[in-house]
């Protein structure tokens, strides 16, 4: 059985294969009704709109059906029940389960108790592999991933999308540039792991210093909860904000990505520049999730 749990489980050839499939789904190059006899459970123990809807949309486009419970129902249905028991039961109703859960490692646990494939749609501060795949897909639509310089900006300490993307990029020939506010730097063990995987990781004190070298700038949210008071938050947030002034002399093919929703990290004026690619990135969630759903249920 094929589960999608963590980006660490993937080799480069697996990623490339899924990205190729996503491309075929994206361009309409597939037989309609591929999953028309299949049923998917969307089991979300935490609120989510985008991820849940894009999985439902992907399933619908493949001709399959999904059943879902929202986070409130999920938590009352399973009051006092372990996730292990819930998964045992729900997996007996459907052909695959998409799971979001507040605890890290929940999807791994689910995969041990299920009778059908499990796709991790975010486990606490842990992994969210379909997000990483759509990030890679968006980059690859514009340029080959090998040989590029990618900058990660924002909360690199707690930001799971940044960790997961960095790990995936380490399977390619990518130079990684990191820019993070003091205290929110990438954890040392992740930087070490990336370097052990042969990746060059360069830390920069400011976006200005790095941005002209970059082919991709991946911006993540800086959460207010991480700061003692709102003054220190606004201080940091404003010095990490992407504005149009920063975009003079950048590479022509620079793409700015963001997993969305954004708070104030990117000035809306940037949306009108050719560098802004985050809405396209969000749209890519559907073909990428079609590829994942098809892969686990075909």
């Amino acid at each position: 059985m094929y589960h999608i749990i963590s980006i660490r489980d993937f080799e480069r050839s697996d990623l490339d294969h899924l990205l190729d499939r996503a491309q075929e789904f994206d361009t309409g190059n597939y037989r309609p009704g591929l999953l028309d006899d299949k049923l998917l459970a969307l089991l979300f123990f935490e609120p989510s709109t985008r991820t849940r809807m894009s999985f439902a949309a992907a399933m619908g486009r493949l001709g399959g059906k999904s059943i879902s419970v929202d986070s409130v129902e999920a938590s009352s249905i399973v009051k006092g029940e372990t996730l292990a028991d819930t998964i045992r039961v729900i997996s007996s109703y459907v052909d695959a389960v998409v799971l979001r859960h507040p605890k890290e490692g929940a999807a791994r646990l689910a995969s041990e108790f299920t009778s059908v494939p499990v796709i991790n749609a975010g486990d606490g501060a842990g992994q969210h592999p379909s997000q990483t795949l759509l990030d890679l897909y968006t980059i690859r639509q514009s340029m080959p991933i090998d040989g590029i310089d990618v900058g990660l900006l924002g909360d690199l300490r707690y930001g799971r999308t940044a960790h997961s993307l960095a790990l995936a990029l380490s399977l390619y020939d990518v130079t990684l540039h990191t820019v993070a506010p003091g205290g929110l730097e990438m954890p040392a063990n992740i930087t070490l792991e990336l370097r052990e995987r042969g990746m060059e990781v360069i830390e920069h004190p400011s976006v200005e210093e790095a941005i002209r070298e970059l082919d991709v700038l991946y911006v993540t949210r800086i959460q207010r909860e991480r700061f003692p008071d709102s003054a220190s938050y606004y201080d940091v947030a404003s010095s990490y904000r992407i504005t149009t002034d920063l975009l003079d002399d950048v590479k022509e093919r620079l793409m700015i990505l963001h997993p969305l929703p954004r708070a104030g990290e990117i000035d809306p004026a940037v949306d009108c520049t050719p560098y802004a690619r985050y809405f396209e990135q969000a749209r890519n969630g559907v073909p990428v999730r079609m590829a994942l759903l098809h892969e686990v249920m075909k």
């Binding site: 292990a84 890290e104 490692g105 646990l109």
Partner: protein, 155 residues
């Protein structure tokens, strides 16, 4: 139970049946006892020597427990703290078996994950699971890495 030998060293009296854990990393003897569940209120007849001179380790600790042979999980836990430990089984005053300890590739239910958000720290029916890497212990559920102070995380 002990007497001074003429040179002034402390000699621990021999045990008839039990286990001698020798070549424990100096300073870890009390952690080894904790792993074995031996506390002030348990009844084992026990001797401990710490910071004993050792030819090949500099100094070492030794623990001797009477009437007790160790289970495999206990040996795995000891291996984490004292990778050079030698376990000697004593029967009728003689060493009848001597074995080294080995850290297994995967530790199940041995170490508690320090990440409060980890699914293994909930009421789910799973044991904590760590793979043993050169750089530390890696939680296979949440990816947490325990780099040092492993003794404090042993269950």
């Amino acid at each position: 139970m002990s007497r001074k030998d003429p040179s002034g060293g402390l000699i621990i009296s021999p045990i008839k049946n039990g286990t001698v854990i020798d070549h424990i990393t100096a300073g870890e003897a009390l952690n080894v006892l904790r792993i074995l569940g031996i506390t002030g209120s348990t009844r084992e007849c026990l001797s401990i020597a710490t910071n004993v001179k050792s030819e090949w380790m500099g100094t070492k600790d030794i623990v001797k427990v009477e009437n007790r042979e160790l289970r495999a999980e206990e040996v795995d836990r000891i291996a984490l703290l004292a990778p050079h430990a030698k376990i000697n089984i004593i029967r009728d005053y003689k060493v009848v078996e001597k074995k080294g300890v080995e850290i297994p590739e995967v530790l199940r239910g041995v170490v508690r994950c320090p990440n409060p958000g980890c699914i293994t720290n909930t009421n789910e029916p799973v044991a904590s699971t760590f793979e043993v890497l050169d750089k530390g212990l890696h939680c296979l559920y949440c990816d947490w890495l325990i780099k040092d102070d492993i003794a404090n995380h042993i269950i």
